[in-house]
Symmetry: none
Subunit: 411 residues, 2 copies
């Protein structure tokens, strides 16, 4: 509430719930003070079947949620010996003694179910509020208390909360949803391609949504009711035909996961040579478990000297064509491929800005190359974006060049 | 509410208000339906002096805010001729005819003040709700309706809303705040260090907050009222002494920005040799404009072969000590430094998981080294985190090793 942290929970949880056919009716954030937290939880209990509370389960004095909820529901807190033992073990595994303040995380309100936290010390808690004193005559409400850090919250939601949803919302099975992740085509062009041909389905209840990110647009087809499956199925097959190879995943995979899968399947090895993307492509690929099977090396050649030394880019090319040029990009990829004896190498060189542009090569200009047996392809793009988004866009374009190559889509 | 768009309004508006000494007590998001919007506005009028409503002022059928608020406050909507003329002009300037639906944006509730929109068609509206039927006896509430797109909302807030704040909150100029960004020390240990020594200030009104991220904890000291500056000033000097060198910034900088600043100031050059972090350290450093002045190269040596070829790690070291070992980390940093003739080189090698651990070196084990003139330092850490957080933590530890070296904090 002080603007120090961007709240990403709302989007993530809303999307997870929407994917399961549940539309969130209200999202509330309050400061870390007892009165505000208790008031928000009381109001939520007064109107909702399912309430997800995030944060405030840690060991410090501003972590108040557990106490306040127990108080509100008039339930005793009891020390759970097995949680406490787990906490001591957590610290022992790290060669440290548990700070005494941490013990508060082993307090559990009467009747609550403990949700183990595989990625942190604060366990989650689930409480069936029945009877619900704040909403008499409306059946039980379910209250989940989840840890605030996204790396703890997300796996806990997926593994410990999602499986309960069919029990809490038993009538919610007539819902269908398919998503297409695309790259290389803008949102309005995607819309022009599919909105007309899907119009009759939209009139029958299909919901057609778009979500644009940096160099990536997601198309989402969904419907509820008896005809949901049929509507979404028909829309899916039309959309697949209309969009073709700009769709890189229908399984909610990242582009790097798709590329990693193709490399692994084809048994090909890769080297990445990056200038302006500064290691971001290697970083994305090494987020995929098993990347060591295909990624032999990444070279971040940020200086001319390193382009010569590590990739063998000729001095003459750097001088006459410049470090940001088609010739340098090609020489980088070819040098990387030869020196490391791999099947494929990709390279990126460009002007991330904010300074360094010219009228011929303005800030945002990027060249990328792909070298494979007997052939090198070069592409030029212009990404007029601030520095970090520029890096994201260029990395996305280079990974997509590799994807299209591996799929045989490049003539 | 479907998770398609990340809500950045909350953070931005909260920060703007916090900078002016106003702490937001509640942030609410609801779906675009009449009942939800009206209920949320009615509740807000029941508890707040200032309410900012964003979105729902556009020309389409799901833009309901203007109508619903007028209805709720029992005020007539009247067509404002000068807004309508402005709208026609907006489209004429762009060579287009105004779509008829846009005219709805010229509707103004009785008694509302129009806030011109320099970056879009929807004007904002300010209403002094006096008397406030939802909070009798509590003085007026101020309701601002602002456009949803950030590029329209932000300038409108700064130019048209911020100047009203001193009038709405006349007593509110006494607020002070300082933040410390720390790394290498956990949240509960930080609290043990400072909570006791600051207790007397907390009793006098100091607010002490913590925000934990991966390998980074922010400590925030703030206070309101006549003694705010004195309280926060005293707390700041005590905290600085108590925390010492684990504080890397008091200016809200990232760790990579701090390290980049030190390298630039000292005129030192750097090479980064990464195994398990896979390019993430280079990526972070190259997010800083001007990184090319100090970062000569980044080597992502994901295979044993590339550790030999690019860094000269001896075959014998890899065989007897293993790729994840103190000896390999040291050889990586020393090889990188010598081959690129730089002042400093850092290296990281570890087991990101999910597989690959042993009892002696479990998943999460990471070795890092820093080679400088005549000296190599090696550190070992254990980060039991999922793959991406593991990479973040290891990168943070390596950047902090570099920071401490550059500050002369390593004996």
């Amino acid at each position: 509430m002080l603007g120090r942290v961007l709240n990403t929970h709302q989007q993530w949880l809303c999307q997870q719930l929407a994917d399961r056919g549940l539309v969130v009716k209200r999202q509330v954030a309050v400061p870390d003070t007892g009165l505000d937290i208790q008031q928000a939880v009381r109001e939520a209990l007064g109107r909702a079947d399912l309430i997800l509370v995030t944060g405030g389960l840690g060991p410090t004095s501003d972590d108040l949620t557990r106490d306040l909820v127990a108080q509100l529901l008039n339930r005793q807190l009891k020390l759970d010996a097995s949680i406490l033992a787990g906490l001591r073990q957590f610290f022992a595994d790290r060669g440290r003694t548990m700070p005494e303040a941490t013990a508060v995380q082993a307090q559990v309100p009467e009747g609550a179910t403990v949700l183990p936290n595989a990625f942190g010390t604060a366990p989650g808690l689930a409480i069936e509020v029945e009877p619900n004193p704040f909403r008499t005559g409306a059946g039980p409400s379910w209250l989940f208390m989840l840890p605030g850090p996204p790396r703890e919250l997300r796996p806990m939601f997926l593994k410990q909360v999602a499986p309960w949803l069919p029990r809490i919302f038993p009538g919610n099975h007539q819902y269908a949803c398919r998503t297409f992740k695309t790259t290389g085509v803008g949102e309005s062009i995607l819309q022009e391609k599919i909105a007309g041909p899907l119009q009759d389905l939209v009139e029958r209840g299909l919901d057609l949504g778009y979500c644009a990110r940096v160099s990536e647009v997601e198309v989402r087809l969904s419907a509820s009711g008896a005809a949901a499956k049929e509507l979404v199925g028909e829309a899916e097959s039309r959309t697949r035909n209309l969009l073709g190879p700009c769709v890189f995943s229908q399984e909610d995979e990242t582009l790097e996961a798709v590329v990693a899968g193709l490399l692994a399947k084809q048994g090909k090895t890769l080297v990445v040579a990056e200038s302006c993307t500064g290691g971001y492509i290697s970083h994305r690929l090494t987020n995929i478990p098993g990347a060591s099977r295909f990624l032999m090396a990444g070279l971040v050649t940020y200086s001319n000297e390193s382009k010569r030394q590590l990739l063998g880019v000729p001095e003459a090319t750097l001088e006459t064509e410049g470090a940001v040029s088609a010739a340098t990009a090609a020489a980088m990829a070819e040098g990387a491929r030869e020196r490391h004896r791999v099947d494929v190498a990709i390279s990126v060189t460009g002007i991330a800005g904010p300074s360094g542009g010219t009228s011929e090569k303005p800030v945002g200009t990027v060249f990328m190359a792909l070298a494979s047996a007997g052939k090198t392809i070069v592409e030029r793009h212009l990404n007029r974006l601030e520095r970090e988004s520029f890096k994201q866009a260029a990395a996305q374009q280079a990974l997509d060049l590799l994807r299209r190559h591996l799929l045989g889509l490049i003539p």
